[in-house]
Symmetry: C2
Subunit: 638 residues, 2 copies
Amino acid sequence: MNDMLKKFTVTDKFFGYYEALIKDTVVPYQEKVLNDQIEGAEKSHAIENFRLAAKVIETEKCDEAFYGMIFQDSDVAKWLEAAAYTLLMHSDEELEKRCDEVIDLIGRAQHQDGYLNTYFTVKEPDKRWTNLEEAHELYCAGHMMEAAVTYAECTGKTKLLDIMCRMADHIYERFIEDEVPGYPGHPEVELALMRLYRFTKNEKYKRLAQHFIDVRGVDSDYFIKESECYNWTVWGNDCNNKEYTQNHLPVREQTKAVGHAVRAVYLYTGMADVAVETSDESLKKACETLWENITKCRMYVTGAIGSAYEGEAFTKDYHLPNDTAYAETCAAIGLIFFARKMIDLEKNNEYADIMERALYNCVLAGMQLDGTKFFYVNPLESIPGISGEAVTHRHALPQRPKWFTCACCPPNVARLLSSMGRYAWSEEGNTVYSHLFIGGTLDLTDTLHGKIKVETSYPYGNQVRYRFEPNDESMDLTLAIRLPLWSENTSIMLDEKKANYEIRNGYVYLTKAFTQEDMVTVTFDMNVKRIFASSKITADSGKVAFSRGPLIYCAEGIDNAGDVFSLRAKKDGEIEAYSSEKLNGIVEIKIDGYKVSESKLIYSTVRPEVQPCKITLIPYYTWGNRGINQMRVWLPEE
Amino acid sequence: MNDMLKKFTVTDKFFGYYEALIKDTVVPYQEKVLNDQIEGAEKSHAIENFRLAAKVIETEKCDEAFYGMIFQDSDVAKWLEAAAYTLLMHSDEELEKRCDEVIDLIGRAQHQDGYLNTYFTVKEPDKRWTNLEEAHELYCAGHMMEAAVTYAECTGKTKLLDIMCRMADHIYERFIEDEVPGYPGHPEVELALMRLYRFTKNEKYKRLAQHFIDVRGVDSDYFIKESECYNWTVWGNDCNNKEYTQNHLPVREQTKAVGHAVRAVYLYTGMADVAVETSDESLKKACETLWENITKCRMYVTGAIGSAYEGEAFTKDYHLPNDTAYAETCAAIGLIFFARKMIDLEKNNEYADIMERALYNCVLAGMQLDGTKFFYVNPLESIPGISGEAVTHRHALPQRPKWFTCACCPPNVARLLSSMGRYAWSEEGNTVYSHLFIGGTLDLTDTLHGKIKVETSYPYGNQVRYRFEPNDESMDLTLAIRLPLWSENTSIMLDEKKANYEIRNGYVYLTKAFTQEDMVTVTFDMNVKRIFASSKITADSGKVAFSRGPLIYCAEGIDNAGDVFSLRAKKDGEIEAYSSEKLNGIVEIKIDGYKVSESKLIYSTVRPEVQPCKITLIPYYTWGNRGINQMRVWLPEE
């Protein structure tokens, strides 16, 4: 399997905008935040923690204090990863120099034995490895391994890779050679070790990833024993709540997505990745079962997951409240990671469809259009006066803040949106899979002797064109294009004639010696669709949502005379979709609806009058960009 | 003002059932619970705590341990109050003897200086009065004062009254004479002191009640200072959360009902009661403002209050989620207390209407029809698999438990339902007010020289008949009958002719020298009504509820093929109401509706098919009596 990251160059308007935003705005902004140079943003101190740790290593003392979450290091790692992706897009000597300096600092903060973690180095040197449940050493290590692999991939420089291989070796020694029991409270290192393994080809890292997956939940009392043995806590987590940390059962026996949603999908990603590399059928089966449970019973229509603030967690099947949703940006990103690995296990449009849904809706909503503010929580209904204010809605902010005390989401968005090639494409033998529709150039010179160019104005335009630039006369290949489930009729034309193709599991397979003259044109059904939720989702009873292509829409107050909650969508009313300049350029939707008259009474026996009206809908990912507004995805029908 | 408790004898089927249930089942059951004689019920230990405290007083030592909530004493007080009411209805020497024994025990547990509280006596003798915020000494004292007044009223025995006057004197000495600052974290003593004042005519108790109300929130840092000074906590309450304890502002400046809902309405009851007795206009105004806020913005259609489990609290205007409602039984009872005092401030049917709504819907729902199980939380939607199980719904149980660790609600229901005369009637000069429609006999021999007999099959029957039994020829009086707001046309007939009457503030006033031949017949419009919520209540958008008379209805799974969430009420469909034997005899409602087909997909672009069907509705107060079922008050319309 080939990682398509370096082969793909984005050129289209939509993701081109995001890539440029990450490079020009988000990475510089986040660099400033990590260095505490943004006024009014939550204090980060993340880089400073590395300086303090380096001082400890070098002088064996440091009078200054660590600040931030116990996993503050991971913010630096994710930022470095995003920065590396932007360096791949456009060289930037100054940025690369600053990244190298951060990496030098990280190297100086590493202990002789390979151990790296600023919290423990600066603050609690004696407590290393004594609280795997909460202390997130393996989580931070995982993120830094991901940064290390990425930095090597994108810049060719291996200093951070060497640092993190030493850390991985240190972990290997502890948990494999010395057979110390344990597994991480927050999965992440598993998927990171798999990346490290694929890049370095060092089998130890695969074995270590596999080990953490295999032992998880086998001794499901491990965190209890650990807490009894070492008796310290970071947040006072209840180690008896095993579902929270997905160690209630051995992973192969888990059938429901439970607990902290980010932990869950990071774990499942690692499981799927190990299954890919080891052809472990029981692990694959477990991944499929968990995937089914998430996507058929526990996922919002935006691809968001995690219904409860309490534990940032999955709750129960079909419990998907809109206004109190947790729907963490990182969890949607994790779901994308999981989907991407499921694609590697089996090409099936179900996986890429969900990947697309989470990406274009929840993840993009996680960032202000200008790249400087972020949502951690992505509710499907926002009620000014209640959202962000009522005790039950403190998490569900009506506007994106500049940064967070726990700042996992912003750099996670940055690293995802700057590495789209990896998600848009895959290559297996002579087959090139087009999972996501992003305009750009896929350079297959090394493998299939040519390039594929994609032209599209997706997700608003309904066409994607694939052109071919063979090194020689032609490129022999099978182009496999996902048929999105949301498109009822997708036409596939080859050179303006209906193409000959096979369809398997929701992918169209076109095999040909493609020449420069060839063009594959895919035309989607981009009619606006009404979406109805299962009647088991009580929060959506009697309601309808609207989508166009991969985008889920919502009504926001500013487009609807300030009041969204008095609106009802007209059953089978007219729908109009048209281009609008607003919100960086969108396709806006107008539907027939009704406005319910306001009653002076809280409860009245008089049916409220309804006046016909037009309801304006915007893509969900653009909500919250124009001040505090009511917002609703699911509209009651009238 | 005359308390009508002792003058009214209930004889009708509906409340007759409840009175008998309280006497025959609830009071004996709760007595057993308090003595830890009910298998499978939560341990109470409440009586035993008094035994232990008596031992401490008498022998100055006790090796056994206090058990239960810090306010466990209040369970005994509320039970004693309920028992006293039943003794008024029917003498029961055995029960009275056992009550006297409990009272003896309480006396033995009292300190020389009047102080009474088993927790502090047994467990923390040095911490008396050092944590007014959490330790509930004044709350427990208040409940025992209420029991004392009631026991004296109902049995004529004053031993408990003497005990509690000594305790009240002790409190007076501390907070008035010695001028120790402070006010209770959980209001209750204010309204209790007012009862004590009215019964004993001792002005000190009124002054003390007034004092606690006047000082509350004036030093809004009091609980913070207290916690800094004494540095101990019961539950780790955040003393900076001043709204929780309604001390964020002086009470006269409070305009929104905030914080712990029971505390709030107990406080407002005390405020209204002081306003009644002192004609304090600013206090009356504050009560009116808070009443408006509750009943126009923060109350469920069932009369329940408190939208959030977190802090058992009011949240924000129009935030009234159905499935996660807290809607505590005690809070509805407190709202009834508050309404009752508002009636004393001003005769207006708004107050009695809400009193009736909370009573017939939320409070009655708080108890299993057989009197042996209780709801603490009264949601308006119950979702098996989620309710009581999801982390967000742990409080919203789908079935009534036998008892609770914090057992405030069950004895509160018992004392309310055994003292209906106080709520149904009031008397001012020659005017007799009929607020609630309960069949029975009102003995006005001492004041208006006769009796009024009420015949009705309310709340199911639509007629109430008032007959008169003058001592002599006739009774000169004004009969003032509430016109319920839910009845669009209420006819008032005197002796089968349209009566001559005045209407003021929703009361019909009939003045006459009533003779034995006279009969006033009130006929209500008991057609089933559709209820629509303000569009600001997002949880009820596009939904309808049904009521008949004072009763709010709901759909329960057992009557609807197990599935309520696939049902839609047909807009303007047929409605049928008929008597049914089920659930002790109810009027059941059948409405036209639709059943939405089940989709295999969580989200589908195919509009689900709908089949016409009949939907069966039962009175909300009877839900949860037939096993675990789906339940929904607000049905989406189709």
